[in-house]
């Protein structure tokens, strides 16, 4: 069994070998076929490459497409070819063909190619049989074909191409075969690449041209942006600053290096920037919308400004957002002005309300009339929606007034009148009272002189008119009074000037006498105005006196001399009154000149007389003294001789008594002479006051008189006040000597005698009392002691003139002389003088 197994083994090996050979031959054949095919493809490829090299050189697109159509026929050895280009963007269709003789419209062919593509889809390159082609119109003329298609999404076009073999001419040409398919695919890819390159380069050059044009535009724009006064910011699409112009730098103080790459809101917004405005801006930027706002911004220094901001979103050709452009305008001044206007308007309204002025406006645009609240008050109507203002007017006004008002309004509206002021009588609706109102209306025009509106004011002046009437009546009374007083002044014998507080003349009465005027009544200049004025000495003296009166604020009187044209002198007494109101403010200067020429002459004459009299008086005085001296001298020598004889021891008692009687008579005669002299002087001489010490005077008088007295005698002084008094010294001396002399003369010799001076002051009066403890005066004689030549006793050594002279002196001094006495106890003489 081994042989069979061997055989079987061998057979098996043979069959395997056979199988291998067969398989090898098949492989060999396959390799041959492949070689042939590759050779053919190489040929086709070489042809194709040649055409494509030519096509690449073509500049013109049509020539390029035409060359491709030729390439299909030539390379694939087919009868006809089509290249159909369709632009999706423009719907333009280009058709290129080779080897066809029949006419065919491009539209039909495109239509047929498109439905063919749908049938053979998804393959982009395909062999198409007669069965398929027969389903079409034009393409049914062909028996066999190869078909290709591609679309370029980015550049938006489709290309269809086909190589075809006709039914009739079929033997002459190749039929497209499997082997064409690969190379047709390669062709398709190459064509596609070439076309895409062409299209791209076209696109690029177009873009370059656009960019160039765009750059020029941009240059123009940036020139404008640079020159404009508005600030310009350009940002990228994220809102980061790329560029700013100079105006922005001026407004904000920021320069490009400060802001580059930053967001405007971070630079410009601040505490006072309104939140709602920020939100508007944020939303617009987010949505890439244009926006326009007014916003409070802050500059580099932190200064606040009002910015009118407009943001424009910029998109490119492809609709992509590229930039924001922000235009800025500093409107701080305008905004502040506007705010000020609003404030002013508010103020105006406030004033109008408080001044009781109603305001209204008429807008021709819609024919509406608006009233302020006060208008309703003035017309006495309540303000509600149903009130129709023209009707209120018509009802309230007198018909004639209303017509006038309507006419004024019309004339204002058509420009005949720019302003009208009138006074109307209206009937106030609330109480039916007649009121007088004053109205004014003004037209407001725009720059083109179109009427914008008519505004008016109305004020109730009823009370004012009443007041005005009263005032007019009062002023009429004033005028009457003025005329009256002026005529009184004009007919008074004095010359009156009235100046205002500035020294300007207000009134000058008619001069009563030539020469009374010292200031030109027609002069408009102030008397105090030093410019362009040269005053006469007289005027200068008067002005100086007026200035003094103003300074001292009381009346000053000055003597003034005028001159008549004949050279005669006029003497005036000028009284200058600075007239002040109750607050002490100077209102007028009133100068009154009285002609005192006559008085002056009398005064001069009087002075002369007086001087003569004084001279005569002095002469008389000297004469009286001389006489008294000469009368006394022999008398005194008699007394001297008598005393000499009495002193001698060679005389008896009887003769001594006789001699003492001679001495007594001589003394009485001497006393009489002295008293007559005193009386004469007191009645004749003027009073001459001076200050002197009364106590001293009394002391001296007492000392002089006590020589003649024997026994104890004392002077007591009770001075409760200042001993210096102001009086007529020589008269007071006579007075004191007389009174003290009496006290000494009538002292009681049996006791210690005294004379006492008491000096006091009370209620402006000087009280001098001289009292003694002497004999006193009998009560029944008290009221006679001051009578001339009265003597209390027959034994009295007096002349009866002493107290009479005292009384005369005191009465000459304007005082009182009182006597009080108790017989045997003493006497008090009291002198009361006004100090």
């Amino acid at each position: 069994m081994s042989e069979s197994r061997e055989y079987e083994e061998l057979l098996k090996q043979y069959r395997e070998l056979q199988l291998r050979v067969t398989r090898f031959s098949a492989v060999e054949q396959e390799l041959i076929n492949t070689r042939d095919r590759l050779d053919h493809e190489l040929v086709l490829h070489q042809r194709l490459h040649r055409y494509n090299s030519d096509a690449l050189k073509e500049v013109d697109e049509s020539a390029f497409f035409q060359l491709e159509a030729e390439a299909i026929v030539d390379v694939f050895e087919l009868e006809s070819s089509f290249v159909l280009y369709y632009s999706k963007k423009t719907s333009e269709t280009l058709l290129f063909k080779e080897g066809t003789h029949e006419s065919c419209s491009t539209e039909i062919l495109l239509d047929e190619f498109q439905s063919l593509r749908r049938k053979i889809n998804p393959a982009k390159t395909a062999i198409v049989s007669a069965e398929v082609l027969n389903q079409f119109g034009y393409l049914s003329h062909f028996e066999h074909g190869i078909f290709g298609y591609f679309s370029e999404d980015e550049l938006q076009y489709e290309v269809y191409f086909a190589g075809l073999t006709g039914k009739t001419n079929a033997p002459l040409y190749n039929r497209p075969q499997e082997r064409h398919l690969t190379i047709f695919g390669v062709f398709q890819q190459q064509f596609r690449a070439m076309l895409a390159n062409r299209k791209r380069s076209e696109e690029i050059s177009k873009q370059i041209a656009q960019i160039k044009a765009g750059q020029q535009e941009l240059r123009k724009l940036s020139l404008i942006a640079t020159r404009t006064k508005n600030g310009v910011i350009i940002t990228d699409n994220h809102g980061r600053i790329e560029w700013i112009n100079d105006a922005f730098t001026q407004i904000s103080g920021y320069t490009l290096p400060d802001v580059l790459g930053k967001k405007p809101k971070d630079l410009l917004q601040g505490p006072k920037t309104d939140q709602s405005t920020r939100d508007i801006l944020k939303k617009a930027l987010w949505n890439k919308e244009n926006v326009e706002v007014t916003v409070v911004n802050y500059d580099h220094e932190g200064r606040e400004y009002y910015n009118q901001l407009e943001i424009i979103s910029v998109f490119n050709e492809q609709g992509e957002h590229t930039n924001f452009i922000a235009l800025q305008k500093d409107i701080t001044a305008e905004t502040l002005t506007q705010q000020e206007m609003i404030r002013m308007n508010t103020r105006f309204e406030l004033i109008a309300r408080h001044s009781k002025i109603g305001t209204w406006e008429y807008l021709p645009a819609d024919g509406s009339i608006r009233w302020s609240d006060l208008m309703y008050e003035i017309y006495g109507v309540s303000k509600d929606l149903s009130t129709v203002i023209p009707e209120i007017w018509k009802n309230a006004m007198e018909p004639a007034d209303y017509e006038q008002g309507v006419e004024d309004m019309n004339r204002i509206r058509n420009g005949q009148l720019s302003k009208s002021e009138s006074t109307y009588t209206i009937k106030r609706q609330s109480d039916g009272m007649e009121r007088v109102v004053e109205t004014m209306m003004v037209a407001e025009h725009d720059t083109q002189n179109n009427l914008v509106r008519v505004v008016g004011s109305t004020k109730d002046i009823t009370e004012e008119i009443l007041l005005r009437k009263e005032r007019d009546a009062a002023s009429e009374r004033m005028i009457t009074l003025k005329t009256f007083y002026e005529s009184v002044l004009n007919h008074s014998p004095s010359q009156k000037y009235v100046f205002d507080s500035e020294g300007r003349i207000l009134f000058c009465s008619y001069p009563p006498k030539e020469g009374a005027l010292w200031w030109d009544p027609t002069s408009h200049q102030s008397i105090f105005d030093k410019r362009n004025q040269t005053h006469s000495d007289r005027t200068a003296r008067m002005i100086a006196a007026i200035e003094m009166a103003l300074q001292q604020r009381h009346v000053i009187r000055v003597e003034d001399h005028g001159e008549l044209s004949n050279g005669e002198q006029v003497e005036l007494l000028q009284s200058i009154l600075p007239y002040q109101d109750i607050t002490g403010k100077l209102e007028h200067i009133i100068v009154t000149g009285v002609d005192i020429s006559e008085l002056k002459n009398i005064e001069i004459a009087l002075n002369q007389k007086n001087e003569e009299l004084q001279k005569t008086n002095a002469e008389l005085d000297n004469f009286v003294y001389s006489i008294s001296h000469d009368l006394r001298s022999p008398l005194l020598s008699i007394k001297g001789i008598v005393s000499l004889i009495i002193q001698s021891s060679e005389i008896d008692e009887k003769n001594r008594r006789y001699l003492e009687m001679v001495d007594g008579s001589a003394s009485r005669l001497d006393g009489t002479i002295q008293e007559i002299l005193e009386y004469s002087r007191n009645s004749r001489l003027d009073i001459a006051h001076e200050s002197f010490n009364l106590a001293t005077m009394v002391q001296e008088a007492f000392n002089d008189l006590k020589f003649s007295a024997q026994g104890n005698l004392e002077l007591l002084l009770d001075i409760q006040t200042e001993p210096i008094i102001y009086s007529d010294k020589s008269r007071m001396s006579v007075l004191m000597k007389n009174i003290i002399g009496n006290s000494i003369k009538y002292r009681r010799k049996d006791i210690d005698a005294f004379v006492k001076l008491t000096l006091t002051r009370s209620q402006g009066k000087l009280i001098i009392a001289i009292s003694d403890n002497g004999e006193g005066i009998d009560r029944k004689h008290l009221d006679q002691v001051f009578t001339m030549f009265f003597r209390g006793t027959t034994s009295s050594v007096g002349t009866g003139l002493g107290l009479y002279i005292c009384k005369e002196i005191v009465s000459k001094l304007g005082g009182q002389l009182l006597v009080d006495s108790i017989l045997g106890e003493g006497t008090t003489m009291t002198i009361i003088l006004e100090e």
Partner: protein, 130 residues
């Protein structure tokens, strides 16, 4: 007590000169008395004699030609040392207060005395020297 040795009496009235001389002689025995009847006389005397030992001068005011005050004026021009120890009294029967004031205002005058000079007055004048 300084003794009064030399007295000048000046008066145009002889009676007064006699009277005053009597009073002086009775009160000051042995006193030397020079009598002048006018202001001119006494002035000439004072100028001529140039004395400085006069104790008292009684001078009347009202005299013809040259009154007492004129004499005093003339004396004021003389050497004041001469009258250092001299007391001068003005004597007058005047009632004119001005004379009295003038006398008191004149530095050379010691006092004013009304005429006639009594023994009492003279005594009190002389007493002042003690």
């Amino acid at each position: 007590m300084e003794r009064i040795k030399k007295v000048l009496l000046v008066d145009d009235d002889d009676i007064f000169n006699m009277l005053h001389g009597e009073v002086l002689k009775r009160l000051i025995p042995g006193v030397r008395i020079e009598i002048f009847k006018s202001g001119v006389e006494v002035t000439e005397y004072l100028q001529r004699e140039n004395e400085n030992d006069i104790d008292l001068i009684f001078l009347d005011i009202r005299m013809p030609v040259m009154g007492g005050f004129e004499v005093l004026d003339a004396m004021a021009t003389m050497d004041p040392k001469r009258f250092e120890n001299t007391r001068i009294y003005v004597l007058s029967s005047t009632l004119d207060d001005r004379d009295l004031q003038r006398a008191k205002a004149t530095p050379l005058v010691t006092d004013f005395i009304g005429k006639p000079m009594s023994f009492d007055t003279m005594r009190s004048i002389l007493g002042q020297t003690s």
